[in-house]
Amino acid sequence: MKVKREIFTNELDRKVFLGQVTEFFVTLLKVAILVGVSYVIISPIIGMIVSSIASTEDIYNPMMFILPENPSLEKYSLAALRLDYVKTMGRDLLYTITLTIIQLLVCSMVGYGFARFNFRFKNLLFACVVIMIVIPPHTIMLPLYMTFKNFDLFGLIPSINMMSTVKPVYIMTALGCGVRSGLYIYIFNQFFRGLPKEIEEAAFVDGAGVWYTYFRIMLVNAMPSVITVTVFSLVWQFNDVFYANLFLISEDVVISKKIGSLAAVIANQDKILNVKIQEQYVNAGIILILLPIVMIYLLLQKQFMEGAERSGIVG
């Protein structure tokens, strides 16, 4: 009896010990994977930062890796000058932020309409929203180009050429067809469907109209979705070059387009013809462009990750 009991406790000890060892190795593996993948993601960025702060001698020094010997910010000042950084970035941020606000208003309104009203053809129309998500804008770029090249409001007004202005993007966004609007409508719809109906009923009993209920009650409650959509919309609008190229929007408004020609501008105006050194300037330019959007993301990150969990992005 006594012997048996001893074996039992030993067995338990052994199991606990083995369990601890396995757990240790599993944790080690997890950490290794996370660190490894994170490195894959940030290594090009480290490379860019290093390249942009290295001086010209450092680039030709085969001993230099990660830490430049004579770091300088000279590349940044010229890149900022040639990008006309402050002004262009200001215009781009104004463009991006106003479009994001329009997206938020329009998409949340449409999403609410689909979530809380039972009108005829609702399912058919919502299928159209899904179609909008699925069909890439590339399929219809040609007619879109032509629509805005001769914008005549279906013959109501003499045709206007809207190319090289930002108007087409604003018009499309205001009509719920901007950059990935379908997805935002879908997110809002899912979120509003998840909110309890009692809130609206209470508002109705207290005499609130549908618009008052939507603006003052539902939209305020939809904060998680609003944050999710804000982050996505800001990022995708800022990075969008498809519509910018399609509507020939000026480089002075869309800074992501301007970076494409930075190397050529530097070669032309500053007579820097060495490709490796041009590259340094381009890298500096990219870091400058990414700065504001990364900062906005970091500001919203906590709410964003928590928001994504509660917002309609999940089925």
Binding site: L34, V37, I42, M64, V134, I140, M141, L142
Partner: protein, 313 residues
């Protein structure tokens, strides 16, 4: 008749029905936009594909002349690269989608656990989404190759430094797996997956966010039950976690396919045909054919997964 019917409805309309009619007002902006930009554009694209289109620069208009199936015939029998590019784009999609889905689900599960610095790691994983503009991606590719050989790797190579000696030989590993007896097809797939790890990681930012959200929404009581019943971690994954995230796998598959299509070479080809070669009819054919193929894949895949999906209500 229709008017009479409507009047009848109006008379009978309850408070709720009257409220519901206001729903149209809410979706009105989108409805107008959808009809003007999508319905009209899709019809026009179909029309272009059957015509030869000539731009009239002076007036800013265009003229159509009926060409029947000529554009289609040209695309499939004469055009040198269209079929090849379409096939590679579709193949890339088929290869990438499962990889991206499993990779992002795996990463989401790792990132879902509480650990120190989780916020930072999550931010790092979202970085690829933050910088996927065309010019930036190109520069990043360049930077990545430089990092592989050190920042001055290229210079070192020309100076004659033998970087091959340090580089880890992949062939040796592959030979080893072949001799173990792993099927060559599977091995090819795995090797291509490893080679594309950069692209896959870069394409899975949004999917990881969606999966993290999905994992958070699984009721913890299910895990408690599994634990009490003595399920192992492996069993818990297949019996609880996987079925519960199934609906979101559909969302992610749709997102991934659409994303993969809109960055594929065939879209590139369609846009260059239209805007550098000014062959609008042919470009419309390219767009339509590739869009139809993509939609067909979407429908098949979504149906396939949906049949196997468990909905927890």
């Amino acid at each position: 008749m229709a008017e009479g019917a409507e009047k009848k409805v109006k008379k009978k309309a309850t408070l709720l029905q009257r409220r519901d009619r206001k729903g149209y007002l809410f979706i009105l902006p989108w409805l107008v936009g959808f009809i003007v930009f999508y319905v009209r554009s899709i019809i026009q694209t179909i029309q272009f594909s059957f015509n030869t289109l000539t731009m009239d620069a002076g007036v800013g208009g265009y003229a159509l002349s009926w060409a029947g199936l000529e554009n289609y015939r040209y695309a499939f029998t004469v055009h040198p690269t269209f079929k090849q590019i379409l096939t590679t784009s579709v193949m890339d999609m088929v290869i990438d989608v499962p990889l991206i889905i499993f990779f992002s689900l795996f990463m989401a599960m790792l990132l879902n656990k509480e650990f120190k610095g989780r916020g930072l790691v999550r931010a790092i994983f979202f970085l690829p989404v933050l910088m996927n503009a065309g010019a930036i991606t190109a520069a990043l590719d360049l930077s990545a190759t430089m990092m592989n050989g050190g920042v001055s790797g290229e210079v070192a190579e020309t100076a004659g430094a033998a970087s091959d000696a340090v580089a880890f030989s992949l062939d040796y590993l592959i030979d080893m797996f072949v001799s173990i007896g792993i099927p060559a097809k599977l091995l090819d797939y795995m090797v291509s997956a490893v080679e594309r790890i950069n692209d896959i990681i870069r394409a899975s930012g949004v999917q990881i966010v969606i999966f993290i959200a999905a994992l958070q929404s699984i009721p913890s009581s299910l895990y408690e039950v599994a634990k009490i019943e003595g399920a192992t971690t492996y069993e818990t994954f297949w019996k609880v976690t996987f079925p519960m995230v199934m609906p979101h796998i559909i969302t992610n598959v749709v997102y991934t396919i659409v994303d993969s299509y809109s960055t594929s070479d065939v879209v590139e080809l369609a846009s260059s045909t239209a805007f550098t070669n000014f062959n609008y009819g042919l470009s419309a054919v390219f767009s339509l054919v590739s869009a139809v193929v993509t939609c067909a894949i979407l429908v098949v895949v979504v149906n396939f997964i949906q049949k196997r999906t468990f909905y927890y209500t």
